[in-house]
């Protein structure tokens, strides 16, 4: 809300500067988002009285003035104006002053005559667009005073962000009330010279059949008005507040709403057919609203209607057809109370928003309904003529003015704020309209009608904290709560330790990307209001996000990628969805760049597999990687499922070339993912004595069919040797020249050790033979000579 500083001063006699007031508003809980200074006060322009006027000896149009500005010596100023006389009071810009148009006043000589300042017009003080001659000040203007202060030129527009609980502060008066209470100043009451009702004008006939939604409806008819534009000062205030002037009547109502907080509405009485009726809408009724939209109403919406048409959606927006225009001569004004929750629901259902609805849904002050009506009627009659009827009032205002009572023990408030509440704070609350009675430790508090946000003890606690100031509350550490020790999840830091860069991506992706790795099964969680199609479904795989990140970076000259992401995947249906914690890796492009010690090399399956194995090893887990040709989006023959114990916990493999290509990735891309929720805790390290006796290492090289997996071979080796085998691995792999097409040569290195004795030649010979026999029997493979 935009708050005009000069308008604010009409409600409370503020003496502080706009900046000080802004700081105090912040302290009171009203966020100030900015201060505009449309006409900053001019410092150094003072009230001067002309002592004498003489002709300039060398210029016909110039005059020599002697001006008293309450300094020991009068000022000599050369001036070109002619509208002043001796004894007149005028604004004098003294030497050093900077005028709003940027002109800095210097000592000077004009046609040989010294001049120590400048006499100003309205234009030079930025009070008018242009001016003819000097601004002649009133005779009572104090000589020597700052003109800015004397004319109260200081204007500032404070841009406030009023929190939704403080509907009472959505008006100049509301803000003034909070400030005045804080400063100990009185609130200036509105003038009370009311226009007398003219009994020749019929009061409007109103029927209210939805009393609980509309507990008070006030209407007044004004006949014989001439609607013109509102006066400049009023338009300026509306514009400063961020509103567009429409026509005189509408402007007055908007002005009243900004001033007092009560939204009002005006109907062109000649467009109405029959009486006003406040009722629930019938489903399907329509309203062509002021903003040009055709609104189809629901039953339950509260409307103002005449005998044939809906005239307004109560408290939100009127119809175009019955609005006041420049040709209107007779109007009916409405000032009413509508149920806040109903206004909120209706305006959300129809996606409408207005200054009026914003105030009604936050709660308006029932005490202002009559005051606002009186003020608006008076302003309209004053400005546009006409005769006003007596008020039609349906409902009881007195019953509306809530009489909320809160009783609370002061100790409870003090304990929960951590400070002592002095009785002086009561006085501040009293100025805000609270009635406080202290009886021992108990407070009996009556809440004023404008404070819809105060209803329980904690609300009172907040009011005290606000007026005492949050700064006064000490900082104390609470007693320590002892908690259960918890193991920190190191999934991501362990992956990072293995050389991967952690990325964090949005949890929603494009549906087309989802389909790359997850078949359509109706279990996507789909957003109703996504930012875009590219962010519309909750991801069920982290791979599309990683591919996008790889694309982004490889398009920016990155030759190799090693990425890891930890995040959730989400699976429908909506009413019983599941979220699982995943970790996923991506490797692509150069694994090793050219260096003085090594040639560059591209990442392959085993680079990623090694990282995943190490990551699992860190958690005390060993996995089997079992070839799997049925993982969607990954290439057959370079893909495996990751099996820990008996359960498949993830997958690893090469991304299908076409898919990688669709992400602009030319290099081979390898990805892996593991469901963290599927991993059980690994084995805790258990002590084993360091072997006392040395181990022996032997190598055997066989020719195998290519189809035989190394995993099966090593398993056969382990089985053949038994307990003494402590390690067996493939140390050499050769395909090509000298080896038949369908075969490959695999070198197996194994180590033997016995916990009880030193092994001898015989032991290793036996083991070797056992292996040779087993391999021959199981795979038909022969030792390579």
């Amino acid at each position: 809300m935009k708050l005009s500083f000069s308008w604010l001063k009409e409600h409370a006699p503020l003496t502080k500067t706009p900046q000080q007031v802004a700081d105090d508003l912040v302290r009171l809980g009203h966020e100030v988002e900015g201060i505009e200074l449309p006409r900053a006060a001019v410092k150094g322009v003072r009230v001067g009285q002309i002592i004498s006027i003489k002709a300039h000896p060398d210029a016909d149009k110039l005059k020599l003035l002697q001006i008293d500005i309450a300094e020991p010596e009068p000022l000599s100023i050369v001036c070109g104006a002619s509208n002043m006389g001796e004894g007149d009071k005028i604004p004098v810009a003294t030497v050093g002053t900077c005028l709003p148009n940027g002109l800095r006043i210097k000592k000077g000589k004009i046609r040989g005559q010294a001049s120590f300042g400048m006499c100003c017009s309205e234009a030079e003080l930025a009070l008018a667009e242009d001016a003819d001659g000097l601004l002649i000040l009133p005779v009572d203007a104090p000589v020597g005073a700052e003109v800015g202060e004397y004319l109260e030129l200081e204007e500032a527009i404070l841009d406030l962000d009023i929190t939704p609980n403080r509907g009472d502060c959505m008006s100049i008066r509301g803000i003034a009330r909070d400030l005045a209470a804080d400063y100990g100043l009185p609130l200036i009451e509105p003038a009370d010279e009311l226009v007398g009702a003219d009994t020749t004008v019929d009061p409007p006939k109103v029927r209210v059949s939805a009393h609980s939604d509309n507990p008070l409806y006030m209407a007044c008819r004004i006949e014989g008005i001439t609607v013109t534009d509102s006066p400049a000062w009023l338009q300026q205030r509306l514009i400063a507040a961020g509103q567009r002037p429409v026509n005189g009547v509408v402007d007055v109502l908007n002005y009243t709403m900004l001033d007092l907080g009560q939204p009002m509405h005006a109907f062109d009485a000649d467009t109405l057919q029959g009486d006003l009726h406040v009722r629930s809408a019938e489903s399907g009724e329509t309203l062509l609203a002021l903003d040009g939209r055709d609104v189809t109403l629901n039953s339950g919406d509260l409307v103002i209607a005449d005998d044939t048409n809906v005239l307004a959606l109560a408290g939100i927006m009127g119809s175009e057809a019955t609005g006041v225009t420049n040709t209107t001569t007779s109007i009916i004004l409405e000032s009413a109370a509508f149920r806040a929750a109903l206004i909120s629901t209706t305006r959300r259902t129809h996606a409408l928003v207005s200054e009026s609805s914003m105030r009604f849904e936050r709660g308006v002050d029932a005490a202002m309904i009559v005051v606002a009506m009186d003020q608006a009627v008076q302003m309209i009659v004053d400005l546009f003529g006409g005769k006003s009827s007596q008020m039609t009032v349906i409902g009881d205002q007195a019953a509306l003015i809530n009489d909320k009572q809160i009783t609370v023990n002061i100790k409870r408030i003090e304990t929960r704020l951590g400070i002592h509440i002095p009785e002086t704070a009561d006085a501040v609350l009293a100025r805000m309209g609270f009635d406080i009675q202290r009886e021992g430790g108990d407070l009996a508090i009556r809440v004023p009608s404008h404070r819809h946000d105060v209803s329980i003890a904690e609300d009172i606690s907040e009011e005290y904290a606000r007026v005492i100031g949050f700064d006064a509350i000490p900082a104390e550490l609470p007693a320590l709560t002892v908690i259960k020790a918890r193991k920190i999840d190191a999934s991501i830091s362990d992956a990072v330790a293995l050389g991967f860069v952690q990325v964090i991506n949005y949890a929603f992706i494009a549906e087309s990307e989802q389909r790359l790795f997850v078949a359509h099964d109706g279990d996507d969680l789909r957003l109703e209001n996504p930012i875009s199609e590219a962010m519309s479904v909750m991801r069920r795989s982290l791979w599309p996000s990683l591919l996008n990140t790889a694309k982004y970076n490889m398009n920016r000259q990155q030759a190799g990628m090693a990425l890891v992401e930890q995040g959730r995947i989400y699976q429908g249906p909506v009413d019983s969805h599941q979220e699982s914690n995943m970790i996923a890796w991506l490797m692509a492009g150069e694994y090793q760049t050219d260096s003085w010690y090594e040639k560059s090399r591209k990442a392959d399956f085993f680079d990623l597999k090694g990282a995943v194995e190490s990551w699992l090893d860190k958690r005390g887990l060993t996995a089997r990687f079992i070839a799997d040709d049925d993982v969607q989006g990954l290439q057959s023959g370079q893909t495996a499922k990751i099996v820990v114990g008996k359960s498949t916990v993830g997958h690893i493999g090469k991304v299908d070339g076409d898919i990688a290509g669709s992400f602009d990735l030319q290099a081979d891309v390898f990805v892996a993912s593991i469901n963290l929720d599927a991993l059980h805790a690994g084995k805790k390290a258990k002590f084993q004595p360091i072997p006392e006796f040395p181990s022996i290492e032997r190598d055997l090289v066989f020719l195998f069919d290519k189809t035989i997996s190394s995993n099966d071979i090593l398993q056969a080796v382990r089985k053949a040797v038994g307990q003494q085998l402590i390690d067996a691995r493939i140390f050499d792999l050769y395909e090509g020249k000298g080896v038949p097409e369908s075969k490959r040569s695999l070198g197996i290195r194994f180590s033997l050790q016995d916990a009880k004795r030193t092994l001898v030649q015989e032991d290793s010979d036996q083991a070797m033979q056992a292996i040779i026999d087993a391999i021959a029997k199981k795979f038909g493979a022969e030792l390579r000579g």
Partner: protein, 356 residues
Amino acid sequence: MSELEALKSELQGLQVKALASIKEVENLLGLGILRVYYLGKKGKLTSVLKGVGKLPPQDRPVIGQYVNATKTALSEALDSAESLLAAKEKQQRIEAERIDTSLSGRTAKRGVLHPIQQGLNEMTAIFAQMGFDIAEGPEVEDEFHNFDALNIPQEHPARAMHDTFFFEAPKGQQAKLLRTHTSPVQIRTMKNCIEAGGEPPLAVVAPGRVYRCDYDVTHSPMFHQIEVFKVDKDVSLAHLKGVLQYFLSAYFEKDLPIRLRPHYFPFTEPSAEVDVGCVFCNHKGCRICKGSGWIEVLGSGMIHPNVLKSVAIDSDIYSGFAFGLGVERLVMLKHGIPDLRLFFENDVRFLRRMGA
């Protein structure tokens, strides 16, 4: 010439020749050969000694002394030559092994944590030190946990301020949404505690991703929050202030003043926005804090009695504070990161620079 003289002269000649050879030898191998040649079991000196038997007995001690003197002289010469040669050869080896130490090392591949992850880790660690437990909750939430239980009823204006993402759902099914804050975890944690027959004290941090339907220069549709709350007997606003003060100083690694400003949140009463002394200018006032010396960092307050009521905690006995940290915002402030979008672009050049 007597036998004695002849032997003496032979020894002398041997010594002169040997010393000359020792002087000339160039490597340890040659020196070893000389040592054996002169002093070995079958060496020259030994063969001279064999002639001693032919001498008359009175001459034997004399020549014995001569032999010993020669032996000593040769040994010393050999030893000193050896140590010189050893030093020389070591020096040669060192020269031969000289490398360019300025060549780059064979680097182990180093990864980095995302700056948000680091922030989360640092922040949760500070709270863990203060005795706060860690809790998590679902990101796909229902309206009860995200709004109703937090004292934000359907028609409440604050609900519209949340820019909520909703899910498509068959008609009649309960609406599901992406949580707009981590506060639902507060509800779930308190509720679980009470339903399991437990009771406060509860001191919990709940880090996680949250979502708002807002996407521009200063808004990301997904970001991270940490919900922090404590419920106990006699928890006060002063405690809130103390915890905030401790946390913010610890996180920014300097003593900064904090300021609480009254504000409004439906789920706390009283509520406060929290400003911290500007980390860039140490509270003096600069361009970033717009001269105020303060930077707004988070929203906080005393848990609203209606919230406690929704999880069956008696607000006459217990009170609590709660606040929600915007992780991105704090990380940006700490590291001077100018643009929120950098976090989710995942440019590895940015990540490597900021990561640890």
